[in-house]
């Protein structure tokens, strides 16, 4: 006789076409009693409409200050299997490309030492191993390290950098963002594993202005691939799109944000006024066979994005309009110097738990630019200020006063 289900609410979510996480928890629960407790605690949450987790404390792994998130059930009386149920972040391979061999290795290690539940992937990009107890943490790390894996970041550190699929799969990648993401991850292992800053700092690398890794919204330092010269046009392919039925005028030219594309329907040719092109990618997105980014490639550096806590959400804004491709390849001397000075400034001036973007808002962009010895340029702003409360550098007042005489 079939047993009456202990999880009637969650069972509901096994129906329907979208892959069901409940099915997966049940599969792991067959093998792991702690995962059965996870399932049952989740059902209680669904009944009571409240979470049952406590946080904090455990960092767990010798030599590191992060990579493990401590979690404890607040009902260990009911669910002893999840009394300690910590999460381990594993630094994913750049671009989330895997071999089945590597993934099976991770599965073997995790099945031996934890709940069998994972996230592919966490928000920052790490592989999340969801649920193990305190004394498994060090052995788990030892096994992963032996297999060639390392932990991701957590706490007040450099979080695991991430990148879109870049030159591995996309014709629009304007620089080797995968390689740079990997190289920076390796370069800054100290900063990643040993928290030493006011708060967290994130790098995200997108190969083009489509920004498929949402760098502009989610990274303190956002790398957006771009180009500086003219969009490459293949006239034959333009004509082919037109003959194929694409309404180039309406779909492409009319959607250009700066109206810099003119299309001649009789000759089936387009003309791009590149000096007014802001490289938004729309025309390229629509006609990938006919249009390509220019040849002089690199990236735009934008900085300061974050989620709402504490002073509101921020998008990154332009700080270096164009870094040429050559500077985005080993040995990265220019960038390493730049980011070291930026981190130094943020670390010295930032309050506890103050993100880089919040510091920028608190002290003002002019203070940052002076500290970094950078020139202000109009590409940094949407428009000049509208409030008249202008700070002057005293030395500039002295100088201009003398000139006036």
């Amino acid at each position: 006789m079939a047993e009456e289900s202990k999880t009637p609410l969650l069972d509901e979510l096994e129906k329907g076409p979208w892959p069901s996480f409940v099915t997966d928890i049940k599969m792991a629960a067959k093998r792991k009693p702690e995962t059965m407790d996870l399932l049952n605690q989740l059902e209680l949450s669904y009944e009571e409409k409240i979470g049952h987790w406590k946080h904090g404390g455990i960092v767990g792994v010798m030599g590191y200050g992060g990579g493990v998130i401590g979690r404890y059930s607040d009902r260990p009386d009911l669910f002893p299997g999840v009394k300690d149920f910590h999460t381990l972040r594993v630094n994913m391979p750049t671009g989330w490309f895997y071999t089945t061999k590597a993934l099976r290795t991770i599965c073997d290690i995790w099945d031996k030492r934890g709940s069998g539940m994972t996230n592919f992937h966490g928000s920052t990009g790490d592989i999340i191993l969801l649920g193990t107890d305190t004394d498994q943490l060090q052995p788990l790390f030892d096994d992963l390290s032996e297999a060639g894996f390392d932990l991701g970041g957590s706490g007040s550190d450099l979080r695991t950098p991430s990148a879109c699929c870049g030159p591995a799969r996309c014709e629009w990648a304007c620089f080797d963002n995968l390689q740079m993401c990997y190289d920076m991850t390796m370069e800054y292992q100290m900063e990643l594993h040993r928290p030493m800053w006011p708060y967290k700092f994130k790098f995200k690398f997108s190969g083009c202005p489509n920004d498929c890794v949402a760098a502009v919204a989610r990274a303190d330092m956002s790398f957006i691939g771009t180009w500086r010269d003219d969009i490459q046009v293949n006239d034959d392919e333009i004509a082919a799109y037109a003959e194929g039925g694409l309404d180039i005028q309406a779909d492409v030219a009319d959607n250009c944000p700066t109206k810099c594309i003119s299309y001649d329907a009789s000759s089936k040719k387009i003309k791009i006024d590149n000096s007014n092109c802001v490289r938004c990618m729309h025309c390229i997105n629509v006609m990938p066979k006919a249009l390509k980014p220019g040849k002089e490639r690199g990236c735009t550096l934008m900085a300061g994005a974050k989620a709402p806590i504490l002073m509101g959400a921020r998008l990154s804004s332009v700080i270096v309009p164009f870094v040429p491709k050559e500077k985005l390849e080993p040995p990265y001397e220019w960038f390493k110097d730049f980011i070291d000075r930026l981190w130094e400034w943020w670390d010295e001036n930032g309050k506890f738990r103050e993100r880089f973007g919040e510091l920028l808002d608190r002290v003002g962009m002019r203070v940052f630019l002076k500290a970094m010895d950078m020139e202000p340029i109009p590409q940094m702003i949407e428009a000049p200020r509208t409030n008249p409360f202008v700070f002057w550098w005293p030395e500039d007042v002295e100088t201009s006063g003398k000139e006036a005489k």
Binding site: K54, G57, G66, S154, P195, F352
Partner: protein, 83 residues
């Protein structure tokens, strides 16, 4: 390990532990302003590696604590859970 800095760091904790037990790296670096900032940070990390200090993390931010205070805090959390 820079023994002068290590001594100064222990001095910091001796003084401050009466009111607080969890300190972000910043608090310690600011207090030890007569020393080189980078050296202070390096020493803190070395002390954490060696077990002279413990790192407590909420997941989003990180604090440095004396080992006894760390153990007390973990236990206090555990006691709360067992209520």
């Amino acid at each position: 390990m820079n023994e002068d800095i290590k001594k100064a760091i222990f001095g910091f904790y001796e003084k401050k532990r009466k009111t607080k037990t969890r300190f972000p790296m910043k608090d310690i670096v600011t207090y030890l302003k007569d020393f080189n900032r980078r050296e202070v940070k390096t020493t803190l990390m070395e002390m954490a590696n060696a077990g002279d200090l413990k790192v407590w993390s909420s997941g989003s931010s990180s604090y440095y604590m004396m080992p006894e205070d760390f153990e007390k805090l973990i236990k206090a959390g555990a006691e709360e859970m067992e209520e």
